[in-house]
């Protein structure tokens, strides 16, 4: 049971291939989940009839069910009613649906910090609703909700490893596949942990930087 570094060097391209797929899936799902979040949060903050209740139900349902079951429902269950998605897109869809629920809450939290008084003040100064949103509400809301949004995005990246359960060849799948073929367990898991750690630490470092810059006006 020696640590064979040359083995890792040899299998590096395969791991990188998996990593690339992980990044692709995560990026698409992160963007899509933020869109879901913005739309859902808007429906709730503007209290659109019926839709806001649906959004509440959606958020509660997703937050109280395991992602793995959601993934299996989408990948194996939906074909039963005629919706057939490829591996890649079922993965993206399930991650989007999952993270979207959390993003709705994150963004709603930010939007609700923008008080009614500000809106009235802006309107009395003659701002149009759109300009109020663009110049007053959005900058304030983003500062509040961005850290939570980035956190959810990091979780999404980690949770892309769930997709190995349906057989998408992302990073975890590739590594486990190699383990079952070559039995170089220690090397593979070391590599896997290091890659995920680097990814997550890089992202959270970037998130900290962004947060720091956004708070610049409030720093003495």
């Amino acid at each position: 049971m020696e640590f064979d570094f040359s083995y890792l060097v040899e299998k590096w391209p395969a791991l990188m291939g998996g990593l690339w797929l992980t990044i692709q899936v995560s990026l698409i799902a992160i963007v899509a989940s933020i869109i879901v979040g913005v739309l859902g949060a808007a429906a709730r903050v503007l209290s659109v009839p019926v839709i806001d209740k649906l959004v509440i139900g959606y958020v509660e349902f997703i937050r109280n069910t395991p992602l793995l079951a959601q993934l299996f429902f989408i990948f194996y269950g939906l074909p039963g009613i005629g919706i057939r998605l490829s591996l890649f897109w079922s993965g993206v869809l399930s991650l989007t649906v999952w993270a979207g629920a959390y993003q709705i809450e994150n963004i709603r939290g930010g939007l609700e910090t923008v008080g009614k008084g500000l809106r009235e003040a802006a309107f009395s100064l003659g701002l149009t609703p759109w300009r109020f949103f663009r110049l007053v509400a959005a900058p304030l809301a983003i500062r509040v909700s961005l850290p939570a949004m980035l956190n959810t995005s990091i979780s999404l990246l980690k949770n892309s490893s769930y997709l190995q359960a349906i057989g998408l060849a992302e990073l975890t799948f590739v590594a486990l596949d190699r383990v079952s073929m070559d039995f170089r367990t220690l090397e593979m898991f070391a590599a896997l942990c290091v890659i995920y750690l680097v990814l997550v630490l890089m992202l959270s470092f970037a998130a900290n930087r962004i947060e720091y810059r956004l708070n610049a006006p409030f720093r003495m």
Partner: protein, 238 residues
């Protein structure tokens, strides 16, 4: 529907396994979290660093990798773990890492002067810890711990990946069995039912957590000098 009724004993068995796994994990996580969380509030710098590394490590690695890591790497060191034990250990590593943060937050929420005044009264260190700071910290710790339990119940579904026959795995087996033996695919209905059951269990836990939080907050609204503030219930998602 008839399919689900026919398999009811099997389903209940899976449900029991899920709850056992969740409780076992909660038990281990609580012990580790309180030990490390308390250590982290002590004054030794290097100890805090070690705890911080532990927390960061097991929070940043995906939970799935955690479980597989325990499952595949332990045998290399001569430990042949059953799937159940491997899943418990893997989940506990993650759960305790989140728990440490909660515990630390709880203790930090107890104002310093509580410790100082207790010391001034001549209490021993362990007495201060057990009778002064811990009871106050618990108030802040309990609601987020219920939240953690909700996440743990969801996370137990990952046990299926290493072969624990818990609730999710039971659903999977029923789907496979029916497909091969009866020639039709019940995936849609089975997985919908699985989601629904998890939803009911976790919703109850979530409500309980919110209720607990409100209750504990209500006591606090009375003027109570130096009562701990609530910590945000924010474990990193599974």
């Amino acid at each position: 529907m008839e399919l689900l009724i026919r398999n009811l004993p099997f389903i209940l068995q899976g449900l029991q396994m899920t709850l056992t796994l969740a409780l076992a994990t909660l038990f281990c996580s609580t012990i580790i979290a309180f030990t490390l969380g308390t250590l982290a509030t002590l004054r030794f710098k290097w100890l805090r660093l070690v705890v911080k590394i532990y927390v960061e490590l097991f929070r940043d690695i995906p939970l799935i990798v955690n479980i597989f890591l325990v499952f595949f790497v332990a045998p290399l060191f001569g430990l042949d773990l059953s799937p159940f034990v491997a899943a418990t250990v893997g989940l506990s590593l993650w759960g305790s890492a989140n728990g440490v943060e909660i515990v630390r937050g709880g203790f930090n929420a107890v104002p310093k002067h509580q410790w100082q005044s207790a010391a001034a009264l001549g209490l021993k260190t362990w007495e201060i810890y057990a009778f002064v700071t811990l009871p106050q910290a618990l108030k802040a710790i309990l609601p987020p711990f219920v939240g953690l339990l909700t996440l743990l119940v969801q996370a137990t579904s990952l046990g299926a990946l290493v072969g624990v026959t818990e609730f999710f795995k039971v659903g999977q087996i029923i789907v496979e069995r029916t497909t091969t033996m009866e020639g039709w695919n019940p995936a849609f209905i089975v997985y919908a039912a699985v989601l629904l059951v998890y939803f009911v269990i976790c919703s109850c836990l979530t409500w309980f957590g919110r209720w607990l939080e409100r209750r504990l907050k209500r006591d606090q609204r009375r003027p109570q000098p130096g009562a701990p503030a609530m910590v945000e219930a924010a474990p990193q998602l599974p």
